[in-house]
Symmetry: C2
Subunit: 191 residues, 2 copies
């Protein structure tokens, strides 16, 4: 998606360790107009009419997923990082190694809010190694719900996450795929 790629080129930064910093508009300070455009773009790739839910993981996916849920007219559900005791009763749970936090993170969802008859679109801001995404897919499967697609704003195409989920048999779309980083320069995959 050219608008997103242009924005990453203009404002993104590369930090040591091939970290792509887009925290001026995507996942710290957030440009909601851009998120609206991303949500419209995702709608071209997924069966929006069949969706009953948009799912993401806290924290950085929530803003984008909120705008998507609003546009598509379905509830947003965000998986929580375990520790809070404010969720009672049955939980779906998946353990994920977080490279951002360098430790195991457990994602939980109340069984009250995800059911076998749900049709779920997973939305996240970033795809790198795909561990957090696998955790979300596991939660959908644990509930017996139908995964209708995976939508990502920015994929680090030089890590393995994207390919892992392209082979999953559901629509997968990343709106900007960074194929490689050379110094501070970003090279994007053509659509």
């Amino acid at each position: 998606m050219q608008q997103l790629i242009d924005r990453i080129r203009a404002e993104g930064k590369v930090l040591p360790g091939d970290i792509i910093k887009v925290d001026g508009f995507l996942n710290h300070r957030v440009d909601t107009k851009l998120l609206s455009a991303l949500a419209d773009e995702f709608a071209k790739y997924f069966p929006i009419d069949r969706l009953t839910m948009v799912l993401t993981a806290e924290a950085s996916g929530i803003a984008l997923a909120t705008i998507c849920a609003q546009k598509y007219g379905v509830p947003l559900l965000f998986a929580k990082k375990a520790k809070s005791d404010n969720i009672e009763g049955g939980l779906y749970q998946s353990d994920v190694f977080s490279y951002t936090y360098k430790k195991k993170v457990t994602y939980i969802i109340s069984q009250e809010w995800l059911h076998a008859d749900d049709h779920v679109l997973i939305i996240d801001d970033f795809m790198a190694k795909g561990n957090a995404m696998q955790g979300l897919v596991d939660l959908v499967n644990a509930a017996g719900a139908t995964l209708e697609g995976i939508g990502i704003a920015v994929e680090k195409g030089f890590q393995q996450g994207g390919d892992r989920f392209r082979n999953l048999g559901v629509p997968y779309k990343a709106l900007a795929v960074i194929d490689r980083v050379e110094g501070s320069e970003l090279f994007f995959r053509e659509d």
Copy 2:
């Protein structure tokens, strides 16, 4: 706000420890139509035209604050819980004791995204003892920015947070204030 109070009465639950569970529409599964109505209601109480930013803390405030930022046409900024190394450079930082997580949480904001000329509305889903909110106010003050108001969806009026910020000299509005809990019954403050 009657719509929110009605929703809490219909779907909220009281857990041991006077925990008010509204995770079916506010902070786990999220009803974005309700959030839009809350954002419209907040707009009656705050100087929306002067705002340059909506600020919240990850994670549960992000959905509501995103919808508010979208409605008011300003960026959203969410304070992150420290540990991620994806934020570089200067940080504003505040330490907060989280009763939800029963430990100290450090909120951080990149100095790149909050400045002395910003006019900030803080939005959060819940007000209890007010520790997280104090952390956000401290971040605004550290940047020398102007705090234009504090908007809360649900206040636990029987804890001290609300009164603490009502006395701060900026507009404060909680759209539903729970004055007391008796068994599983909630009593709301009249507007």
